[in-house]
Symmetry: D2
Subunit: 257 residues, 4 copies
């Protein structure tokens, strides 16, 4: 089992246009700062948080208890003009953990229910099982894209790449996020090397982009993710597409993902 | 003519893995904060800046001169462990302005050239022409997605929606960006109402999502964008898909976009 | 025993003027943000951190282990153009704990030794003893100062008030910090109510300002400090100068501070 | 004539204890971030802003018009749980400009009047006259204090130094601020070199600390301040106590300050 958290800004849409539409760059600054604070808080406790839709942040929080979630909520309330609700979910895969987190928060009321403020629902795991973090990047991204192609075209190419990876991994119960540059990070159940090879094939077929991936394993995103980064470096140096870090394992042979 | 700026973190990829891979949440915090500072600086001067790839930020900067760009560069150098280069481009459409900005910065050297630091290339416009800002959102997003669907599924739905909008508008020389929640913002040349209707049709066909759009016009993103937000509110209240703000105009009848 | 940490920016003075003097508002922004990040990190772990000289931050960190200090150091390195060293000290009073923290860091090298980078010295306490947090504010500050006096005069009045409090408490091994508005916070060993009364008398004599104080007790600054705030509210409502929170105790009768 | 702005958080004291006292480190983080945003905004427009009491910020804003002040106010409202009022004052000296700024804001209502929100009073100067920025630091501060003395003792020594400088300069209508490390910055009318020598003498007599000062002159704080920093470097290299930058002038011989 692993743990995920859906953080949701309370009644945020209406706030952005009340009493009149607010300046877009102020909203972007606010969203980025709230995200940076959540990423920083979760990150210093070995979790990962992703921007996702900005008003709905997705975090992987194995090892972070409910009290810490509540501390984060009060911190946001004391720093920003908006408040944050949290649904803590658990599941055997990232996908099912996020689904559980969503269900719990939705049960507390609508995102635009003005009476739902700082809800915190769900129960933290006592002990988490290991999962994969897969770190993808583009082969020769700087030479192929950044230095050669229009900046917007490179951005669209990464969007398509992300979409190909995320759609494919989703079938295997992994959840991917674009994390800037030419990087896509995914939280996955234990998957076989051939599954990751397949994701890379899909990205080539659908987005015309060559990817590499490093895969790490651990009970927290920080440890698994750091191993994934090191494995990616090995792949870069040895020109291999898929590299598992030491200790990263495929699922048992009879497991169907 | 209008003005765009490509801001690029210098030699950032290598920095993220030197001397060893850096913690991912620290990188996400850094990227979000750099973006927030750029958005804040550009925004308080009536421009718009978008996160794009995080290490390549795209801004629309009509009315912001080169001296201000250099002030921003020195500010980033004094606050962060990374530096920022800028290419200032001009063009008759957002797309051509960004292409020009990219060309100018690429001519200064590779993004991973360790000797290219704080390059600032290009010339600011003395006077800009009006353009459109189009603000799209999803009809009944909260009831349809946020409160009903898994948080990751809603996120993927917005990614597909963004991709449909961006691919379609790109043909018309407009550039779109996902700005969080259920919102997509686009900088466009003066386009006809039927063109925006066509974008909405494409999004429905390709992503299965119903959009609305408000269109504002001005010589700076802030003024055009605020009008677009107000027009979107009008569309929401009156249940119209495409609403032009007062003063927003279609191109002359014989103009081909 | 209690624990204190001296955080020191490495080789910061020379950095501010290399290769040429940096813009003062950039330095102020940097210092404030570094402090905000340290305060936020320490605060979410029930400690307190104070700005002090900006390049030398003083924190009270009972309950925060050395690993957490190192996480904070790497976080600062990954976000800022400067690095942070830390001396962790222990002592029977705030004053002796800070002296120990200083000694440990000074033993690692000069603040302007360009080879001393991210030193972390000292050992965290396994278990801390209770201490006082005293929260002072000015009686009728808004009516007497903010709404009546020039803003700079009010600021100087608070500076003098702070100096009177800090000099007096220092004799009793307590350390005071101005925390904005009309508030002075002090970390103290267990002191008698009459000692706090004496501090208030000194402030009246030396700065001409009437103070109130709430005193809380605990093994972490956050718990003691929150009790102190509540005690101060009680004093405000009941017009008492010195209020001890429930559970706050004077030292044993024969203890000399 | 020169221009000053008093920025004041609206009804902030009550907010910090409503509905219950808020965590002190959250308040410190909030205050530091609001200040960093004000310093950043004002600084990128060639002004200076100082933390002062944290809820009352003092800025020198010659050249920044009222529209920019209002942009800053809306930016703060859109990012923080608090709002900001502003009094814009003018005067022939920093002291009289701040007094005027205070008068104007006080006339708009009490700092704790819950109906006074985002007041902006006063009129910006069309054209400003030159003034001095004086940048003081301590001779051999690192060797004498930071590396030798307890960190709290060094902090108190700087507090006393600041107080000696500020009290003395105040008589000459200059306003001083501690800006971290061993640095004190002052905005002054045009003063004679002998006046600055006298300030240094007072600091030695009252705080036992040896200071140096660089003096710059200009119509904006940024230009005068940068010249002051360069002059201070000259003083450091040539071991002179008071150095005027090129172009910095004493007042006419018959002027009494």
């Amino acid at each position: 089992m692993m743990q995920a958290t859906l953080f949701q800004l309370d009644d945020y849409g209406p706030w952005t246009t009340t009493p009149a539409p607010r300046a877009e760059m102020d909203l972007q600054t606010l969203q980025s700062r709230v995200y940076a604070d959540v990423a920083s808080f979760v990150g210093s406790r070995d979790g990962y948080a992703f921007y996702a839709r900005g008003d709905n942040l997705l975090a992987f929080t194995s090892g972070i208890d409910r009290g810490a979630h509540e501390t984060l909520q009060s911190t946001i309330r004391n720093r920003y003009p908006v408040t944050l609700s949290a649904g803590i979910g658990t599941g055997s895969t990232p996908r099912s953990a996020v689904e559980d987190a969503t269900d719990r928060l939705q049960a507390a009321g609508s995102a635009q229910d003005s009476t739902r403020t700082e809800a915190c629902r769900g129960t933290a795991l006592a002990a988490a099982d290991p999962f994969h973090v897969a770190h993808f990047d583009v082969v020769d991204a700087t030479a192929t894209y950044t230095d050669e192609t229009g900046a917007y075209d490179s951005f669209l190419a990464m969007t398509s790449t992300f979409e190909a990876v995320s759609r494919t991994l989703y079938e295997h119960h992994g959840l991917a996020f674009f994390v800037g540059g030419d990087n896509v990070l995914a939280l996955c159940p234990l998957l076989a090397e051939s599954t990751y090879d397949g994701v890379i094939d899909e990205a080539r077929a659908r987005a015309g982009v060559d990817l590499r991936v490093g895969v790490g394993q651990g009970v927290t995103p920080a440890t698994a993710g750091m191993d994934a980064k090191r494995a990616l470096e090995v792949g870069r140096e040895s020109d291999r597409a898929t590299v598992f870090a030491d200790g990263a394992t495929a699922p048992p042979a009879d497991a169907a993902d």
